[in-house]
Symmetry: C2
Subunit: 203 residues, 2 copies
DNA sequence: AGTTGGTTAAACCATTTAGTTAAACCAATT
DNA sequence: AATTGGTTTAACTAAATGGTTTAACCAACT
């Protein structure tokens, strides 16, 4: 029992690393087994197929990210604080997991059917809470009545996630060193709140 | 000679479709050959390896996109007009090529080494021109002196490209139909210029 | 009529890959 | 001492895959 959980978990952790690093199509079961320090038989013993293992991994990662994003919403902060905190923490987090954004985007676009149940399963709870918060601020006259909370959410995520996903391109196109690229991205922690908050109050 | 060009081009066009649809790892040479109406031998006769074919495709796509983005800059429009026009045209374009963003992000992140020469080859010309334009507006006192043109560029691209790359997730998370998702994205053509322009003039 | 270059057909190769099987092993449990 | 469940070893299958080879085909060119 103890061993079982250890192994099952270690497989999941290792599989996550490999899938994130190489994508579903690029990942090899043998590679996962080796890296987890077990053999292929055992891998298939726990997760019968590659698809199984992948969806298990993806679901876990997806839920982690989503609760990361929406746990803030539950904390009853004001919208303004929420946005400030989010950019700081989220960009910091992504800079430490640089392949995560591209992995997410790639797999969700490549196998939408496979993953759509995972997406749907994630509750509207967080989203509802976020919409409510936006509504409150509207009624308090602090922000534009026409603002669509979904658009706001998309904007926030776009501005924080995309640049990190596309980092290698920026590095080469702007002729930057790794440190300079990192610096450029890190500076966004302060730039983005200003920009997004301005888009709420003005107009 | 005539035939050669026809075929070589048809291969490239077909390979582009397949690579964009399935990614480098997911794409199959046989599939490309079949879809191009030729046999595998001929495919390898023109582009010896899969890697060759892929880089040829990617380079072409990359340059098309980049000149799409920067041709506007050459047109001597004001920054404000440029931003308005860009969002309208670019979002419209991407909505017709919905896999393009995810393809780009995925491959650039997965094989940065393979593609870095492609990225570097793309001139700093367009970027320089864009920076100059921003500088002019700074001197005219129209925008914040501290604005980094690279950050502005990243913001513009993030806000337009990312939402389309992540479309399947939004669709499911927001419980939308295809039409509603499309509508949500299309509305951004008007929302984004307002937001981005506000971020230039204020503060 | 003969040459040339693009093209096909089909077999072929070596390797990789996901997944299976069966027997043995070992530690903890009963 | 016997059982059980996780685990290994190692061989194996079946299919797929990138790439090669060889001979023949055909239209245009000389």
């Amino acid at each position: 029992m103890v061993k079982t959980l250890q192994t099952e978990d270690r497989i999941l952790i290792t599989a996550r690393e490999v899938f994130i690093a190489e994508g579903y199509d690029g990942a090899r079961m043998q590679h996962i087994a080796d890296k987890a320090g077990i053999n292929k038989s055992l891998l298939h013993y726990y997760y019968r197929t590659k698809e199984n293992l992948f969806t298990a991994v993806f679901e876990r990662v997806f839920n982690e990210i989503m609760s990361r994003i929406f746990s803030l919403v539950e904390s009853e902060e004001s919208l303004e604080n929420l946005i400030r905190i989010f950019f700081r923490e989220h960009i910091g987090f992504l800079l430490e997991q640089p392949r995560l954004p591209a992995f997410f985007i790639s797999e969700s676009s490549l196998h939408p059917g496979l993953l759509s149940s995972v997406f749907k399963k994630f509750g509207t709870r967080g989203i509802k809470k976020f919409s409510d918060l936006v509504d409150m601020e509207k009624k308090a006259g602090k922000i534009d009545d026409n603002l669509d909370p979904r658009q706001l959410l998309i904007n926030i995520l776009s501005l924080s996630i995309f640049p990190i996903a596309i980092r290698p391109i920026f590095k080469d196109v702007f002729s930057l060193s790794d440190a300079e690229t990192e610096d450029l991205l890190r500076r966004r922690m302060e730039l983005l709140p200003v920009m997004v908050l301005a888009s709420l109050y003005n107009k």
